[in-house]
């Protein structure tokens, strides 16, 4: 259901790429190169994603860490050792999962 861009950025399934639907969720992560990962969330209309729950999951889908986006809609955490996924839990139609394999510097 997700449109996966060449790199990291994902847009929730409610939005077509480049579409003009208001309020589609956008979420992206990158590797800071120092053993930490930073993620940013937001919405296509510019509204804040501050406070949205971010779940870090291991290879089996178990939640290993649960965080919240800060006032700047960002969060950083220690890079998990094995395979992992990061989920932007924006609720129905606004949730996005990024595979750790696609999170690069």
């Amino acid at each position: 259901m997700f449109k996966i861009f060449a790199g990291l950025a994902l847009i929730a399934s409610v939005a077509l790429p480049g579409g003009a639907y208001a309020h589609s969720a956008i979420f992206d992560c990158f590797d800071n190169g120092d053993g930490t990962i930073s993620c940013q969330g937001g919405y296509s209309d510019g509204s804040s994603a501050s406070g949205v729950s971010i779940k870090v999951k291991d290879a089996k889908g178990r939640i290993i860490e649960e965080l919240k986006l800060d006032s700047n809609s960002e969060v950083s955490f220690k890079k998990p050792a094995g395979d992992y996924k990061v989920m932007f839990d924006g609720g129905e139609g606004h949730s996005i999962e990024v595979d750790g394999k696609k999170i690069v510097q």
Partner: protein, 275 residues
């Protein structure tokens, strides 16, 4: 008789097009303004006549080159790129002058949101008219689709604030902007408009000698529109590509080095065909 007058008309037309145009345009250019993800951005800063690949001018160096980055309603952050500037020689078919390049690494742009690029050049001396010119130029780039500060003033002496998302325009859309001087709207300002009809070649540091537009006369090369009582202008974009807007003489500085100064506000927008 008919032949003669046509020839005369043609000659007059050619002279019109060849005559030094008054639309000097500061170009702050990078090929794409709406990026799905961060990428290296190759910039060129060139003072020329982009509709005609015409006369090149020496902008007198670059005083400031930075971006104001903002995502959503988060904090705006200033990123200085002046140290990345390199002087190059930009060669148009019949003219060349010093210009600047900057390769902004992907890492600087990996945070999603708007990047409002601001370029403040030095002063160009226009010998013919014995005046100085300074065109303060803005260009908006978006990464990842989350908007930010595109419709906010940068706090420049003079600027054009977009009222339509400048990196999200279809061909045929209108571009609307508000002209500010010291943060206040300028009513009745003349805004010149040019289409970049000669594609920039970043490898050669040149505008292509081939024009994508056949101009019927000189009037159509540089269009003009006036701002209303709120300093707002609205201009339809009839063709995909780059459109430059220059609000002339709107800045608060009226003199430089004892001579008259035209401090102008420039913005570039990119229109994309709806396919």
């Amino acid at each position: 008789m008919k032949k003669l007058s046509l020839a005369a008309l043609g000659l007059a037309g050619a002279m019109l097009l060849a005559a030094p145009a008054h639309a000097h345009f500061m170009m702050t250019y990078t090929p794409e303004t709406a990026l799905e993800k961060a990428a290296d951005l190759d910039f060129r800063i060139v003072f020329t006549h982009p509709a005609e690949a015409g006369h090149m001018m020496d902008m007198g160096g670059v005083k400031e080159f930075y971006a104001l980055h903002q995502r959503g309603d988060g904090e705006a952050k200033k990123i200085d790129f002046k140290s990345l500037l390199k002087e190059v020689t930009w060669k148009n078919p019949d003219s060349s002058a010093p210009a600047f390049s900057a390769l902004i690494p992907r890492k600087e742009l990996r945070s999603m949101g708007d990047y409002m690029f601001v370029m403040v050049p030095g002063y160009y001396y226009e010998k013919e008219e014995d005046v100085y010119m300074q065109q303060i130029t803005k260009l908006l780039v978006n990464v990842g689709g989350i908007p930010g500060n595109w419709n906010m003033p940068a706090g420049l002496p003079c600027e054009i604030v977009p009222l339509a998302k400048p990196y999200g325009l279809w061909t045929g859309n209108v571009f609307q902007g508000q002209v500010l001087s010291n943060g206040k709207p300028v009513a009745g300002a003349e805004v010149e408009v040019e289409y970049m009809s000669h594609a920039p070649d970043l490898k050669k540091n040149a505008l292509s000698p081939k024009s994508s537009v056949n101009y019927p006369n000189g009037v159509m090369v540089t269009q003009a529109i006036m701002t209303d009582a709120n300093g707002v202008f609205t201009f339809g974009l009839p063709k995909a590509g780059w459109w430059g807007f220059a609000a002339l003489g709107v800045g608060p500085d009226k003199k430089h080095d004892g001579k008259e100064l035209s401090q102008d506000a420039v913005i570039w927008v990119q229109a994309v065909d709806m396919k």
